[in-house]
Symmetry: C2
Subunit: 254 residues, 2 copies
């Protein structure tokens, strides 16, 4: 392997590789190039509308070759967090992923997990989460994302609904996905690379870029997905901004 | 009229006079005493599940004698705010009060109004509000309340849902109800009393008590409604805490 500036690449999924069912132009070839180069790559996502198996199948259907051990999901991190603490969660999550928590006792909940529940973010479910937190249940969130883009539409993401429950209950959420440094560290630890010689690539200036920088990882913002002009000015640090994953992979493979 | 410490009384409704359909013990007599005493009294509420007419009818049905000109609602304040600025709001409000905005053009909205929409706080409506704000529409809220108590249950209030849209869109809401000083001032201006010789009575330590104090009005917290032990420590200033409106009226009529 030739000497490079970057020893490992961390890639966000939605908005970087694809937008809903549309592949970002050039992304398929860019990912294939990275995989063929031997550069260690990890995919880290807060997406919580799909199970790990559904995510891998979706990626394969879109033409991306990704191994299961390269994929780090916030949903997996949430499962581990709950199991380690022996908690019984009320799961305000998408019905698609409810099955991921089937083996965890959820009777008489003593914790609240909020993932991207989409249509299940309704008044009754929000109140259930709030009431448990007001009684002292810890609040766990898969991410703190503000919004995401899907099928040309911007949609409120999990962070906004977590914020609502935090505000009403006075409980501060623990975030297990991005921008949590611990989550970045899990993905990093699966490679032998030095964090300072990694590159995180994402379309979310807070969750991906600011989160990685706070975890000691250089990061790069792409102008695809949820990116909106001026996003680079919303975070104080300097970082490269590129048109898409195509240019980001160029940077990494130099 | 004898010389008193207090020259005008401002009373919150829900949690002070009643809890859902239950009258707070002693509240009916306490309000009747104030009305008979000649002490100017104003009722100021962020409640937005009922129209002004429904509120007055509800109060009458519960046995409270209150004149229309004594009642100040955040919904009225929101109407005025929108009309003064000639805005076309998307109204994320309770279906009960939709009619209050019938005379305001709501086609191609260029503003967002959030009131306590209850079951209409669903994913589709929240996204509609968010998307308009992301495009630059000003966000108007009737209050910033965290939760309220109704029929023995605590429920998330409008502030939490406003917070979610603020967080996702990056737009800061304008609050027209409590704790906005302007709203307190409207109610105050309808009396001739000096603000410093008024007394605001409420069960919400933030919206009622902190809000009034910030508007220059002495305030008193009651241990009914949404009150929870320790609430008095959540606001830095000192203020009296009493068991209910009965004791608050005692204070005011001394």
């Amino acid at each position: 392997m030739e000497a490079r500036m970057v020893d490992a690449l961390l890639l966000d999924l939605s908005g970087v590789l694809y937008d809903g069912d549309d592949v970002i132009p050039g992304a398929r070839v860019a990912v294939a190039r990275v995989q063929a180069s031997g550069l260690p790559v990890r995919f880290i996502t807060n997406t919580s509308r799909k199970t790990r198996a559904q995510l891998l199948a979706h990626l394969r259907a879109l033409g991306f070759e990704i191994e299961g051990e390269q994929l780090f999901t916030a949903v997996d991190a949430a499962r581990q967090w709950l199991l380690q603490r022996n908690l019984r969660p009320y799961c305000l999550v998408h019905r698609n992923i409810l099955g991921e928590f089937d083996d965890i006792d959820q009777r008489e909940p003593d914790a609240v997990l909020i993932a991207d529940a989409a249509e299940d973010f309704n008044y009754a479910n929000m109140n259930r989460a709030f009431q448990l937190c007001l009684e002292g249940a810890p609040l766990l969130g898969v991410g703190y994302n503000r919004y995401f883009k899907s099928g040309g539409e911007v949609l409120m993401d999990v962070g906004a609904f977590i914020r609502a429950v935090e505000f009403a209950s006075g409980v501060e959420a623990t975030i297990v996905g991005k921008p949590s440094a611990e989550f970045f560290h899990q993905a990093m630890a699966s490679t032998t690379a030095d964090p300072q010689r990694m590159l995180m690539v994402g379309d979310d200036v807070f969750g991906d870029v600011e989160g990685a920088l706070n975890a000691g990882i250089p990061a790069c913002l792409v102008r695809t997905g949820k990116y909106r002009p001026g996003d680079e000015d919303r975070v104080a640090e300097d970082f490269p901004v590129v048109d898409s994953i195509v240019e980001a992979v160029e940077l990494a493979l130099v």
